[in-house]
Amino acid sequence: MTDNTLLEVEDITVEYVTQGHRFAAISGVTLDIAEGETVGLVGESGCGKSTTARAIIQLPTPTAGKVRFEGQELTELSHAEMRPIRQRLQIIFQDPVSSLNPRRRVKDIIAEPLFISGMKDKAEIDRKVREVLNAVSMDPDITMDRRPHQFSGGQCQRICIARALIMEPKLIVCDEPVSALDVSVQAQILNLLEDMKERYGLTLLFISHDLAVVKNISDRVAVMYLGKFCELADSARIYEAPAHPYTAGLMATFPEIGDKVTNSGPALTGEIPSPLNPPSGCRFRTRCPQAEEKCAAEEPEFREIEPGHLVACHFPLVGE
């Protein structure tokens, strides 16, 4: 932990009850994000990436653990106490069309955080809306009076980004912001996020199932499997030398132009076990090519194998 830590997530667990069963969508997730940093979070569908994102913004509040933002503990705050903090802690969702109310005009959607914060000055609101729309390369004169269904997915995501930016937040949690978009539009949105990061001095938590996307945008990358972190390291390091067999497996499924060696590890096989009944010991052991008895008996600790490189595996592929 450094002095300029913006967000500290400490051992959070989110439990749901379905059909009378309690199960943990995420358990024991710990992560620090420094100011100005971009942290990528990858994993297969259903591994708890979005749950982590929502737990950070306290929707819902995690069942256990602590989330500190700018040094302030969030998990114990009421909805009203959270309100001023939410201005500096924004989120962008996967489906841009679904995250805009179809019955409201774009200017009202973007200005909503201003209304909530109690701003009444119409001219000032108008000025700010125009400013963020310009920032996300949308023409305010054309856009402001339209409704979301008149825009494409990429344009809707720009509107979502504009809405997230209007309060000049410190941290934006991007929950798969480009997964629902065409590849050509993905690049535009990623570039836009990078630009905005520079311009507004943002810190990003960038969630995706797409390794290529995360690689380009992140300083550090965390890999998640079945509700737990299995590896966390600098972006360059994790792509060059993954320590967890799961990360290695993910890399093997991710082709790159000019790759000579396509097998940096065995590709993943099998299905993700149900989170209702996770495997004993290491959660990945049922699909791990190098699982041994120890893996079933003992849950590996999330430990540092080299400076800044954490892994939860009894037999990491690198280090030690």
Partner: protein, 211 residues
């Protein structure tokens, strides 16, 4: 004949708006509030289902017979039967929209529950409810007609279509127009409302899918 009809439609209009406001507002608001509180929501659902389980006309006749047929009681009885329908349609739509990400987005911006209900959910839910209310309106006109015809509707001097039809029954062979004219107007009104309602529903469905 014509002043009677115009008078009738005037009182009808008053009656309908009274029925609509009484049925509509508790239906939609209750459901919205309940949406955020599951336990209460299922309690209300049980209540609504038990209202629906009562035999419709028979109970209405019984209540009006004992409580006395006046405009207040009539509005009360008819509202009683339309509340479940409004509740169901607004509940279904609220549940549909409450899952959409823009509701989570609004909460992530710090919007209060009331603000989410008024700004995010209500504008979306009100459209299908408004379309449906036209269909309900024709149903209530029919129900009122039935009750009046059976003699538990509004007593004279307030004229209603059902009562006029009923009055004409005795002279059906000699003067069929006494029953026929109010029947025709009732038929046309219900048909128009149904067609309008259908059209409006189509319109909102298309909107919803393109959005």
């Amino acid at each position: 004949m014509s002043p009677a009809i115009s008078l009738s439609s005037e009182s009808k209009a008053r009656e309908i708006s009274a029925i609509k406001t009484s049925a509509f507002s508790p239906g939609i608001f209750y459901r919205h509030l309940c949406q955020f509180h599951d336990a209460q929501s299922s309690a209300v659902s049980i209540l609504i289902d038990s209202i629906l389980a009562f035999p419709n006309i028979v109970l209405a006749i019984a209540i009006l017979f004992y409580a006395g047929a006046n405009i207040f009681n009539l509005v009360l009885v008819i509202s009683f039967y339309t509340i479940p329908q409004f509740t169901r349609i607004s509940r279904a739509n609220t549940m549909l929209y409450a899952q959409r990400e823009f509701v989570v987005a609004a909460r992530a911006q710090g919007a209060s529950h009331l603000r989410i209900i008024l700004r995010e959910l209500l504008p979306n839910v009100i459209v299908p409810v408004a379309a449906y209310s036209l269909l309900i309106m024709s149903f209530t006109i029919g129900l009122e007609g039935t009750l009046s015809f059976l003699g538990v509707g509004l007593p004279p001097p307030d004229p209603t279509w059902g009562q006029m039809i009923s009055d004409g029954i005795e002279e059906l062979e000699d003067d069929p127009f006494i029953s026929f004219v109010p029947s025709f107007f009732m038929f046309m009104t219900i048909l128009s409302l149904n067609l309008m309602g259908d059209r409006m529903r189509q319109f909102t469905d298309v909107k919803a899918s393109s959005a």
